[in-house]
Structure formats: structure tokens, C-alpha cells
């Protein structure tokens, strides 16, 4: 039973990735101006464009480039970016460019997850345990206010207060790669803080909603009538049923922390993947954008996969469907 579900979802994941690869390719090829145009910028001339295009191998038809790329991808070769190649003949291996960025991204999102998830799940639980109380209302109000603040406002606020005025932390999470423990913490502090604020609100809201929803079900009433203690009701009876939706929100937030934090990475000049991808789009570095996008989609698929598995395992009824 479990094996089947596992296989089924794996298949689904792969299918999704294939669809994505096609979407990405079409998407990136409708962009006005190609990498040659962007490299030469205002100074481009038809001849120099043609010359550079030839150098960069942009003169092949689209579908050929797609299959070549897909092939390479399957053999684990992400191909070469035009980065730094200029009119030279040697570009940069994309894997080489992505590796450090990926590390940075995982570092940041990992830290955020470690702080945000336990914090917000427990806050959500507390809110759900005492619905309607002042505590609950405070949590709800706070989360709503934070949800409604644009990221860049939160970020800029923190920078002005903590970095420019108090001078406690650096204004930019600039990573030179050789930071020691403390420097690393200082560098990560700001974006982490921002993202914890951004990510938590949703998980809190979700946990609260999910648990509350379970709390209103007959078997919880039964548990009460069986004289089960409140703590046990929440943690054993309610939380287990709520796990499904909660892990899903967590998963989606993690996916977002990997791919969606362009704004934060820009404001803190944090060399992560999301910003790199945007720059990739803006510089029409197609192989590069495609690689990034595939990474993001893979992350998403993987996370959702884990989430689904978790909710299946957490729930006997899904474990053994009627």
C-alpha cells in the first residue's frame, strides 16, 4: 500500500518535472533580446551581434537546443553559462556557478526553517488551545499585520534600525565565503530575521486553523467525554490529524525560501539562487535560467513529496484507504 503510494507520487514528480522543463524552455525563448544583445547592450551592432551569437552557439534552432540540454541534464551536465565568456571562447560551467549559491541558499533557508517552524507551530498550537482568548487574538492580529507588510519594508526597517543606527549587524548579508562561525552568524542574522517574520505568520495561521478544525470534530468531543487531559487531547488526538495540512504549509514555505526570496536576497545583497535566477533572466542566460528553474521545481516536487508521505504516515486512514 505504502509502496504503491510512494511509487505513484514519484511518477507524478517526474512527470511534473518534464512538463516544467518544456514550459521553462518555451518561456525563456520568448524573451526579447538574447544574451549577445544583453552583453553588448547599448553598443550592439548587427555585425557584432551576429559575431557574438556565433561564438556563443546561439545560432541553432530552438528544439535542437532543448533536446541537447535535456540530454545533458539527464547525464548530470548542466552545461556552460555565457558568464564571463565575453568574446572569449570559454564560458563558466553552470554547476560551478550554482554550487556556491546553492550552499548559501540552503544555509539561509535551513537556518530560517530551524527557527521559524518550531516557533510558529507552537505559537499556532497555543492560539488553537485557547481560541477566542486575548492571547489567541493577539497572535492572530500580529500574524495578519505581518502577512500584510511587503517584505522589502520589513527588511529595510530592520537594516535602518539594527545596522545603520545601532550598528549591531552588517547591513548586507554579503558572504565572502571564508566567514568564521561568528561572522557567519552576523552575516545571516538580518535576512534570517526578515524571513522568519515573513514565513512564520503563515505557518502560525495554518497550524491554528488546522488544529481548530480538528478540535471541532466528534472524536475530540468523545475524548473530552472520556476524560482525556487537555494536553493529551491537543498533542495526541488533535495534532496528529492536523499534521497533514501543517507539513504541507511548511513544505511550501521551505520551497518559497529556496526559490522565492528574490527581494530579500536583493536588499541584503545575499548571493543566493533566487537572485541569480532573476539576473539570469535579465541577462538572457538561458541555459542558466533553465538550470536554476529545474533546481527550484525539483526542490518543490521533493518537498511536496515528503509532505505527502508525512501526512500519509501520520494518518492510518490514509495509510490504509477504505
Amino acid at each position: 500500500m505504502l509502496i504503491n503510494a510512494l511509487l505513484k507520487r514519484t511518477g507524478i514528480g517526474i512527470a511534473t518535472l518534464l512538463v516544467v522543463s518544456i514550459l521553462i524552455f518555451i518561456g525563456t525563448s520568448v524573451l526579447p533580446g538574447d544574451v549577445a544583445q544583453i552583453i553588448l547592450g547599448q553598443m550592439a551592432t548587427p555585425d557584432s551581434l551576429a559575431a557574438l551569437r556565433e561564438k556563443l552557439g546561439l545560432d541553432q534552432p530552438g528544439y535542437i537546443r532543448y533536446f541537447l540540454w535535456l540530454g545533458d541534464l539527464l547525464t548530470g551536465d548542466l552545461g556552460y553559462s555565457k558568464a564571463g565568456a565575453g568574446a572569449g571562447t570559454i564560458g563558466t560551467p553552470i554547476s560551478e556557478m550554482l554550487a556556491p549559491r546553492l550552499v548559501n541558499t540552503l544555509r539561509l533557508s535551513g537556518t530560517v526553517a530551524l527557527i521559524a517552524v518550531p516557533l510558529s507551530v507552537s505559537l499556532g498550537l497555543v492560539a488553537a488551545m485557547y481560541p477566542g482568548t486575548r492571547l489567541d487574538r493577539t497572535v492572530t492580529f500580529a500574524t495578519l499585520s505581518l502577512i500584510s507588510l511587503p517584505e522589502f519594508l520589513v527588511a529595510t526597517f530592520l537594516v535602518l534600525i539594527l545596522a545603520v543606527h545601532l550598528n549591531w549587524l552588517p547591513a548586507t548579508a554579503y558572504m565572502s565565503g571564508d566567514e568564521s562561525g561568528l561572522q557567519l552568524i552576523r552575516a545571516l542574522a538580518m535576512p534570517t530575521l526578515t524571513l522568519v517574520i515573513v514565513a512564520s505568520s503563515q505557518i502560525i495561521r495554518m497550524t491554528r486553523a488546522a488544529v481548530l478544525n480538528v478540535m471541532s470534530s466528534p472524536y475530540i468531543e468523545m475524548a473530552i467525554l472520556k476524560g482525556v487531559p487537555r494536553s493529551r487531547i491537543i498533542l495526541r488526538h488533535a495534532l496528529f490529524n492536523a499534521i497533514g495540512p501543517i507539513v504541507n504549509v511548511v513544505a511550501l514555505n521551505l520551497a518559497y525560501l529556496v526559490s522565492g526570496i528574490v527581494v530579500v536576497e536583493t536588499i541584503f545583497a545575499y548571493p543566493g539562487l533566487a537572485k541569480l535566477m532573476v539576473e539570469g533572466v535579465q541577462t538572457r542566460d538561458l541555459p542558466f535560467v533553465q538550470a536554476c528553474a529545474m533546481i527550484f521545481c525539483a526542490t518543490y516536487v521533493a518537498l511536496i513529496f515528503i509532505a505527502d508521505m508525512a501526512s500519509i504516515l501520520s494518518n492510518p486512514r490514509l495509510r490504509h484507504p477504505k
Binding site: 472524536y219 468523545m222 472520556k226 476524560g227 482525556v228 495526541r236 496528529f240 494518518n315 486512514r317
Partner: protein, 134 residues
Amino acid sequence: MAALLEVDRLVIDAQTDGGALVPIVKGVSFDVAPGEVVALIGESGSGKTTIALSALGYTRPGLVFGSGEVRLHGEDVIALEPERKRRLRGGRVAYLAQSAAATFNPALTIGEQVTESAVLHGILTQEAADARAV
């Protein structure tokens, strides 16, 4: 002989949209002696379950005890403080819902849920309970 359960002029109110209280159980009184079987009969929604549940000092969300008492062995279960209520429930009084299926938690094994109550109230050890359950 002393009644096991005495329901005395029990009033249970429901809160309306306006927040005003509307009594849905209007001063019910009856006694139940040990070994005696009492049946409440009435159309759906007339408040049978509501009255029954009051024997555990419990009302559904949206309902509140208005006045009157529900005495078990002479002590008012409505007035009990939470911890005592908890001991009472499943300890001395058990509730059997009409649609039993709905009252089982999909996330837990039936076994655990059947034995849970007895174990929690220290009536049986988990092992003994499991043995009894099957």
C-alpha cells in the same frame, strides 16, 4: 434510597446570533436510581443528547448551563472544577455516541482509543487493557 443521578430543574441555554440566551432545555428534573434504566424520548433536536451530556458536566460549544443542578452521588457535576470533571468523565460516567464511527479518531488505532480511557483513569494497566480489548 438515594438516587444515583439527580437532574434538578436543569436549564441549558443556547446563544443566539445577537448573543442573547434562549433556553433549549427548560427546567428538566428527574432521578435515576442505581440499576434503574431511564429512557429520554423525543424528536430529533429536542435536546436528549444535551441533557444526557450534562451528566458529564459538559455542553456542546454554543450552549451554556443556565440554572439547576445535576448531582451524581449527591455532588453537583456542573460545579466541579476541571480536573475533577476530567476524572468523572470516563472514570465514573461513560458516554456512548449514537454514530460510534464518527467518534473514533482516524489518526489513532481503535485499540488505543478503546483502552485509553481505562488506562488514563488508572483502572487498568495498558497491558491488561489491551488484553481486555481483544
